[in-house]
Symmetry: C2
Subunit: 419 residues, 2 copies
Amino acid sequence: MSDLLQRVTELAQAAKKAARVVALASTETRNRALQAAAQALRVDEAAILSANGKDLAAAQAKGLTAAMTDRLRLDHQRLEDIAVACEAVAKLPDPVGEVTEEWTRPNGIRITRRRVPIGLVAIIFESRPNVTVDAAALCLKSGNGCILRGGSEALHTNLALAQSFATGLRNAGLPAEAVTLLPFTDREAVPALGSLRGIVDIIIPRGGPGLIEAVVNSAKVPVIKHDAGICHVYVHAQADLKMAEAIILNAKCQRPSACNALETLLVDAAVAPKFLPLIAQALAARQTELRACEKTRAILPTAPAATEQDFRTEHLGLILNIKIVGGLDEAVRHIEAYGSHHSDAIVTEDAATARAFLAQIDSACVYWNASTRFTDGAEFGFGAEVGISTDRLHARGPMGLRELTTWKFEIVGQGQVRA
Amino acid sequence: MSDLLQRVTELAQAAKKAARVVALASTETRNRALQAAAQALRVDEAAILSANGKDLAAAQAKGLTAAMTDRLRLDHQRLEDIAVACEAVAKLPDPVGEVTEEWTRPNGIRITRRRVPIGLVAIIFESRPNVTVDAAALCLKSGNGCILRGGSEALHTNLALAQSFATGLRNAGLPAEAVTLLPFTDREAVPALGSLRGIVDIIIPRGGPGLIEAVVNSAKVPVIKHDAGICHVYVHAQADLKMAEAIILNAKCQRPSACNALETLLVDAAVAPKFLPLIAQALAARQTELRACEKTRAILPTAPAATEQDFRTEHLGLILNIKIVGGLDEAVRHIEAYGSHHSDAIVTEDAATARAFLAQIDSACVYWNASTRFTDGAEFGFGAEVGISTDRLHARGPMGLRELTTWKFEIVGQGQVRA
């Protein structure tokens, strides 16, 4: 066993042991820990901002972009937001112990299906330091232990945040190891975590395609991916064109870096001559570049041509593919062939076409006359989200606290045996 | 790409395409196909039994045990049972399309969570030929395509059964490729199936530890394991001893080869002197061998000693480990350390102890005063079962038709965009 694997194994074993304590702790104890963690984050502000300063200095030395450096930066207000988010999680209903079904069999045995924590959850992420506390809070709330591996550029900040969280756990009488941040960010830590069958119960990778591939290709434990969104809006022949415009501008331009943002606009040939010039103008006003199919370019001659690859690309910026389709069937075929089964929308006033679209599109979220940007735990009313699962099993679409639980069957009898 | 991988890929791609047709087919069409498949199995009896004869001859030539040969054997009655099981699946309620939740957000968007098929399900099994039709029927009922890889000793039989099933699909106007049996049983087909991300949506291995390991270690697509059961019964100090005896005899002796059969009996020290001689006599009368801890041997001096390994072994036969424990805590510690989180029972008249046991044992099924043998889809009232999942995600414990589905969120608005 390599030295690194050994260290990861030891940390994970300690986290697993602590996870069992958290799983059996009362709702009150877990909530008290969350409140105490929020308090510790405030008390430790100086230490956290100082650690963040080290990461920022290193980032500047390495020449990270201004956008990346800004994502890394904490200040008084951002830290306060993190603490408040932690308190908000404490206030959410506890999924643990919830009875989802209960029935009695003819032989008299009573079967109760009850939510229980998954166990030890590994989360691998690359993004902003607030994810560290968010992930820890959601896992603790749902009775899980967690082992976190953040990005190397945020290591000092993450370690400081994790230390405050540990204070919260200890103040509530819970073992600090229940939230374990790996104190190193070697690439090899990813396959190491994924190899720990019987210790790590699930790995959740949140990040770019490289990270996702690394996890999926090496993991021997179950994975729930948070992968790319190649989302579509189909403007049907019977669309309300003003509504279509509003939905497209929102889906594309409001936050183009989000996985639920629009990448490809499909326009029905019947409305293309009327609609395309309107939407092109509105998009131009929002600095959005187009990538247009040949038929679209017959109407919008100045639009650059789309390549085959464009239709398979998550642009993550103000670029929109446009394609004219002959009708519902072609729209569905395109989305199924090029999409990522994340979030896809139809705009139409025709209920029968809308119903057919909702049934035929095999995506986590299918929309009729609404923006794809609603694919989000908070927008769904889940209170908090672990992320958006692009997998089909256990969690699909917005992943909330409930998806951080599994269940057990409790069977109560009076001596029944099987015939 | 190896030749074998290429062939598996082509078969899986055709099955995936057919899976989409099945996913969009009506309940009536899928049920009609199931009924037509049952009819075809009866019409094709001569061909199926002749194919089975080839497999039986090969098995005898290879020197397979009488028990294994018997599991392989089909006759008129067994084939009729398979056809009837197929018709029974047709009569079950359709899980596809079921709305499991529905709510409206303050902004007016309505969110519906609806069950949909998973897609293409790969099932790898080693056991009796009836599994071929069972698995195909359950996948078809739940709107999935399937790709099946059975054991080499049953290949001719399985091919004949699959051909009859294909007749059923075609008679209902569905593509025969929706149920694809791999026409070869090379070991390399297992990692090949597991590598097909984007084509195969889930792999379910049903079989011995070697098969499970091969799948888990190679698969890049999600796996739901049907692994070993190391199940326990704990006889508490306040147990009704007559009830305990009945439960133990049922759990150990009724079908010792089942994964929900008892492997280790834990007896509270307070009742051991009284209970152990009674249960030892009853087990001896059922030809059950004991593997006893040292304390047990002080009471049952003729019982052979248990090794550490015995307590980690799924004996799959009439062998029972016995250990005396000091109380609930030691019982829980033993089960958590040595068990497989499958099915574990307590026998007691004390409700507080029972509740503590149900909460602290982290197994798919936890029992109070009932036999572990009830861990079964039919006994739970699921109508049919794919098997018993020993995984924690998506399916845990008896896996029925519902666990062969995932869901989508349908969001209906009136032009809402995100603020």
